[in-house]
Amino acid sequence: MSEVIDARGLVRRYPADGPPVRAVDGVDLVVEAGETVSVMGPSGCGKSTLLHLLGGLERPDAGELRLGGRRVDGLSETQWAIFRRRSVGFVFQAFHLVDELTAVENVELPALLLGVSRRDARRRAMGLLERLAVAERAGHLPDRLSGGEQQRVAVARALINEPLVVLADEPTGNLDSRATGDILKLFAELRQARQTLLIVTHDARVASTADRLLTMRDGTIVAQTRLGSGASVAGILASLADLGGDG
């Protein structure tokens, strides 16, 4: 069984004036190992809530959730925290680095929590930072880093314990186009390295890096599309480039 995520009938409700709002209204979702899946939808469709449910930041009101084969929808806060260390890496729109730790200390934090020795944790963290081309900022506090650098540090932090899945919530939302391009390349590399990745986004460029695209509306998944197959590229380019016309 190579299913990293297996969600059935996930429901999450919020109280409101009148009947409670169903932010996630019965979602079934399977993500295989090594897949990159993106989730798109209008704002308010529940895609962020779905991500929170998959990572244990919120508890479902109904439904079952299995990560790596283990049943997790009933775990307590403490059990989730311990599980997350090993199995889930988060990347947030607002980066959410601990502002009183330096970049490398932020990255090694999950490893230290897992019980890795300080030396090994530091080594792993520096290795990741180098891979992500942000190693010379390792000793800086987050408020001295640009948005793109902070997000790369956040990705390194998400990867340090080689998690089952990386969950990204609008990872390019706060980035300029150049930094977005860097993250796109990064996700493409992760995809090639067969890291399981689930990205919630409304940026088409980010969403289209995935193998599979899910479209959400009003709390449910309304469409699933494989993106890997399609027209030849040259043809696309030709039609875009409009090369045949008279000068």
Binding site: L184, A204, S208, L213, G228, G230, I236, A241, G247
Partner: protein
């Protein structure tokens, strides 16, 4: 195409094969879409229009090459073209009309059309980005791919707007 070929001759004369090489290099992966004969056809048209002239050049162990050179009129055209700021294909007219017609004639559901088109564009964007990975970052071709991707992104955004608008219209 004509203006591009003429500009390539502005610095120094060249023959057809060289011109084709240069074009392919500038286009990167899109160069594969270039029709092999296109360059030569364009050159003869330009010669007939008096914008370039051809010269025979003798080569020691090969057949004679035809080398092309810009005329004064050609040079004038090149300057005008470089200064021209017309932008092609700003509005997605054809698809827009497709939706209007589909709604009016009830031949198809506009929202379904938009959804299908959007998914197709996303697929294309996916392929484009795969291609872009193989291209070195500072190649000219990479810039062209970036332009294509951004246009696709813009078109997808427009399609999302279309979807919202047509969904509203349906619910009325």
């Amino acid at each position: 195409m004509r203006d591009v070929i003429m500009s390539l001759l502005a610095k120094e004369p060249a023959h057809g094969y060289e011109l084709r090489q240069r074009l392919v290099k500038a286009l990167g992966p899109a160069g594969g879409a270039l029709n092999p004969g296109q360059v030569y056809v364009t050159l003869s048209r330009l010669e007939r229009a008096g914008l370039v002239e051809a010269m025979e050049v003798a080569q020691p162990s090969h057949p004679d090459k035809k080398v092309y050179e810009l005329t004064a009129a050609g040079r004038e055209r090149v300057h005008q073209w470089l200064a021209d700021v017309t932008w092609s294909k700003v509005a997605p007219v054809e698809f827009h009309l497709k939706l209007v017609v589909a709604a009016a004639t009830r031949l198809a559901d506009p929202v379904a059309l938009v959804d299908a088109q959007r998914l197709e564009l996303l697929r294309e964007l996916h392929q484009l980005q795969e291609l872009a990975l193989e291209e070195p970052a500072d190649a000219d071709g990479a810039l062209l791919l970036e332009g294509a991707a951004l246009r696709l992104q813009a078109d997808i955004r427009w399609l999302e707007v279309c979807e919202r608008r047509w969904v509203e219209r349906e619910s009325r």
